[in-house]
């Protein structure tokens, strides 16, 4: 007997094709499908086996697609906002302080790793979790999204945020010394 989660997951390719057809944007489609699957798992009780699973999921997906289209028409920006790093760039989008070359020899120094751990500890919890799942445990982003119940776009933002924050922290506390 397959679990509800497995049966839902098996519909992913169908739903992705459906959403891609509507949105003609692979990432927006993935986001919609992810939101649908998360909503479906949370709403297992309301399904209750009363209709065809695919029909039920497609019903949820349609709402997500409509939301996505609405968001898209409101917001022409193709990449999500990460306003907290605006200060690193000037108004034309160039680096305020251009990144420097980081000497490889730091990787041989114990103190460097102590600083790195301090920097990691300073990240917001979910950001750190996503980043460590990706870089330390080697998960693929779709697995991370599923575990953290966030959309792929949100996932990339978390990872970007982590990398930028760590870069700044290491630059200030290690490479500038």
């Amino acid at each position: 007997m397959k679990t509800f989660a497995t049966r839902v997951e098996e519909e992913r390719p169908y739903l992705l094709r459906y959403a891609s057809l509507q949105l003609r944007d692979r990432h927006a489609a993935e986001d919609c499908v992810q939101e649908t699957l998360v909503a479906a798992l949370a709403g297992e009780a309301s399904f209750g086996g009363r209709s065809n699973l695919r029909t039920w999921l497609t019903g949820i997906l349609k709402h997500k697609i409509v939301d996505a289209i609405r968001r898209k028409s409101r917001d022409p920006e193709p990449l999500p906002e990460t306003a907290e790093f605006d200060a690193l760039f000037d108004e034309t989008g160039h680096w305020g302080e251009p990144p420097t070359a980081w000497p490889e020899s730091s990787l041989e120094q114990k103190q460097f790793f102590a600083v790195l751990e301090k920097c990691l500890a300073g990240l917001p919890a979910k950001t750190a979790q996503a980043f460590m799942m990706r870089e330390h445990m080697g998960f693929e982003t779709d697995e991370i999204c599923k575990e953290l119940a966030v959309t792929p776009t949100h996932c990339w933002v978390l990872l970007y945020r982590a990398r930028m924050a760590l870069k700044e922290c290491l630059q200030t506390n290690w490479f500038r010394k």
């Binding site: 690193l88 760039f89 034309t92 160039h94 870069k167």
Partner: protein, 56 residues
């Protein structure tokens, strides 16, 4: 077509997590070819990845 450094930095990060679409990939390659700062940023991100993998 042209990327700003800010946009390029996002694509560099995303490129570590997924295959970029051909359009973004091309735009990023063109930007990195002429922008030393973003090329250095890319090396920093690769450095960061190696550093985290050595963490135990």
């Amino acid at each position: 077509m042209k990327l700003t450094c800010k946009e390029a930095s996002r694509l560099v990060s995303q490129g570590l997590d997924r295959r970029l679409g051909p359009w973004d990939w091309l735009r990023l390659r063109l930007h990195l070819a002429i922008c030393d700062a973003c090329a250095a940023f890319t090396r920093q991100m690769e450095f960061l990845r190696r550093a985290i993998q050595r963490l135990d």
